[in-house]
Symmetry: C2
Subunit: 231 residues, 2 copies
């Protein structure tokens, strides 16, 4: 295995715990609401919302806007139709306030010693920047679907990372807890590292973390990935 | 004065010493060459090269490519026509290895406490990321002409910073040692801070650093700017 020069990280679920963070914040703000169900429903709206952009039916729209549209659609069924504009805007920005998995900050800091570390997330630049500043994620730069005006798994995102840094696709490793993201990255020549995040949908709802044997590496978490890469 | 939420920094000349860095590296690599003249000639090709993109006569091209085209044109007149492809590529990447002004890292680190700090440079993302990693510039994210596919002073760059972060232009302050950059930023509603860099073209060639009275702030360096912003 050639040591990758660039590590491009999926963020939601891979670096940060979106489910746990949303559940905790919603439970504090609106204790009468089923926070677990709201978190799952919000995330379930994510792929269909991006699909309208991917299909070309809609121009590129930042994820902050898509998150808000999904939220507005969900609020009535959770008894929150009365939320004011500032309350909705504040709640929508919970995606800027997601907590990292316990290993993420230390893992990225170690990986950064030998590689350039960037997110490659469908989150918009402002979201990823606010999240990193709050959580202390030590990115070398912030890449995003927004930079390429295309959502993963569009080829422009994976190939774009290599182009931005003037390296071959093989010099980039995609790091993700989602096999479909890694499969798409591999199809465009990137190396791939699968990260186990069995509690992505909540500890009481463990997901399969076997990953594909086609991945370059398989890591329990980002500290283990740093071990595997000799960082 | 409203405290800006976002500080967007010009980089070449404002944060890093392009002239001194290029002179030092060329003097080491090619002691027979007039390094001062080469640095000035290389930089003098910068605006004309971008103008072809600004005018729409050429699609957006990364600054690494423009720097290389200018360099290739200059080498014969500096007795360096014999340089190999790897030597040219290495020399071209001196722009990735520019040294920060002595106050820059500490100044940005202080400013980062109260504001989001990003470059807004005509340098490409890869260049700015490599420079920041080497020099320890603690950006919160890396913005660049490349993100907006337009070179300053195109409106898309200044307005783009506010759009990326979902704030009003007035919540963004452009920080630069070049009055024309600040004038363009102000025309699009940004606040402006002028930074004195009298030695930008070499200590023996001091430039006028009076700045315009229209700027929101005038600072001797980035530590002084941190003082002025209460950071």
């Amino acid at each position: 295995m050639e040591l990758p020069r660039i590590l491009a990280f999926d963020v939601f679920g891979t670096v940060v715990d979106w489910h746990g963070s949303i559940v905790r914040e919603v439970a504090l703000l609106y204790p009468q609401v089923d926070a677990d169900a709201l978190a799952l429903a919000w995330r379930a709206g994510y792929q269909p919302a991006m699909q309208a952009v991917r299909s070309g039916g809609r121009g590129f729209v930042r994820l902050d806007v898509l998150h808000r549209e999904i939220l507005d659609g969900l609020l009535p069924s959770f008894g929150l139709a009365h939320l004011s504009e500032p309350e909705r805007e504040h709640l929508n920005r919970v995606w800027h306030r997601l907590d990292p998995w316990p290993d993420a900050v230390a893992g990225i800091a170690r990986l950064k010693r030998r590689c350039t570390v960037v997110p490659l997330s469908n989150g918009n630049i402002g979201l990823l920047t606010a999240m990193a500043k709050r959580a202390g994620l030590p990115w070398d730069a912030v890449l995003s679907a927004e930079v390429f005006a295309a959502y993963k798994p569009d080829a422009r995102t994976y190939c774009g990372v290599a182009e931005v840094f003037g390296v071959s696709p093989q010099a980039v490793m995609m790091v993700a807890a989602h096999q479909d993201d890694l499969d798409a990255a591999r199809a465009h020549g990137l190396q791939t590292a699968y990260v186990e995040r069995s509690a992505e949908f909540g500890a009481q709802r463990p997901k399969d973390v076997s990953g594909s044997p086609l991945n370059t590496l398989h890591a329990r978490d980002l500290l283990h990935l740093a071990d595997r890469l000799g960082c």
